[in-house]
Symmetry: C2
Subunit: 189 residues, 2 copies
DNA sequence: CCAATACTAGAACGAGCGCTCTAGTATTTC
DNA sequence: GAAATACTAGAGCGCTCGTTCTAGTATTGG
């Protein structure tokens, strides 16, 4: 059984996915989560900004766990990259192209206007980069190259979400994933 | 001398870059463009949605011209890709990380809620893809492969903007650009 | 069992939203 | 030069925004 706080964060995460930060109102969050305004302000006294930061940090950690699960399940790092992009594409299709990463959306919207949120997104991306980088390095890629490759892979996933959502097609993520596999394979030689 | 309509579109484009669609109010657009509300509704009778679509279509065309200029200025297609990403990175830094592509931001925000805007973003991305694809094919890459590569390149640019903006660093775009050059070079062999 | 704390509940606030409307001034067209 | 059209100007509409506030109910600790 989920706590009220978890309900609020979960509902907000879902709303951020399809409408972003500015497009989501506290009224909607209250309705979708079943928690009244008072509860939202009880758990997040600084209001929407604080709730937004929690959504970014916590959903960022959840994505990272998923990423690590996928990676450690694959037989090699090249297969892992493919599974990552194909998994994202499948989730997107299943949700009628709603289920994109909310962090990239919020980063674009508010990086210039809400410094605390910008920092939260930056930290999450940094951690993803680290998780990917470590696994690429473990597969035999030089540390610096691994870090650069991880940066490109995160960029490609986030950009892939944009094209998939705009076109209502999963091809961009799948195609981009295959190109990322190619880059990793080349770095392994 | 710019027309009032051009002033409105230009001001809105600039505001979308830093705050997105939902984060930008008509009041701000009026103030920044110098045009009163009446003028905005004179040129865009269907209001904010119609203005938003115009911003996407017109700034999309402007970016495409820039892309073609850069591409046709370069000695080869690999150099062109590098110039594209480095140019984007430089513009970003010069503008204190505000000057990202507004189209990717709007696509993520409103693709599920404003069908007309989603279509506008899809068309723009399609045209960019075409412009890139033609040039990759002209350099000797098989047509289908060229199209796929173009998709990945557009994804990578848009995703690169996210990481750069979140981290307030230009490295992600530059690193990603070098990786794209690598992919193109590999496809040319 | 009672006091303190945690949490729920939602009405109400001022501010700002997108949009409409009326009235005005330029500019064109015949 | 008169009539029609194009555009400017901004006050004001109903509504929703994020936030605050008061009052209530559970839950906990001594």
């Amino acid at each position: 059984m989920a706590t009220t706080r978890e309900d609020i964060v979960a509902a907000t995460t879902e709303l951020f996915r399809s409408q972003g930060f500015n497009g989501t109102s506290l009224k909607q969050i209250s309705t979708e989560s079943g928690a009244p305004t008072g509860s939202i302000y009880h758990f997040f006294p600084n209001g929407k900004d604080e709730l937004g930061a929690a959504v970014i940090t916590e959903s960022g950690a959840a994505y990272q766990s998923l990423l690590e699960l996928i990676a450690d399940d694959a037989t090699d790092v090249v297969e892992a990259i493919g599974a990552l992009f194909d998994g994202a594409a499948a989730a997107l299709e299943e949700s009628d192209f709603i289920d994109i990463c909310p962090i990239g959306t919020v980063a674009r919207e508010v990086a210039s206007t809400h410094e605390s949120l910008r920092q939260a997104t930056s930290e999450v991306f940094g951690r993803w980069n680290g998780a990917l980088s470590i696994r690429l390095a473990a597969a035999g890629i030089d540390g610096f190259k691994a870090d650069e490759l991880a940066t490109t892979i995160v960029s490609a996933i986030e950009g892939g979400f944009i094209l998939c959502r705009a076109n209502r097609k999963t091809e961009p993520l799948r195609v981009t994933g295959r190109h990322m596999q190619l880059l990793v394979r080349a770095a392994l030689l």
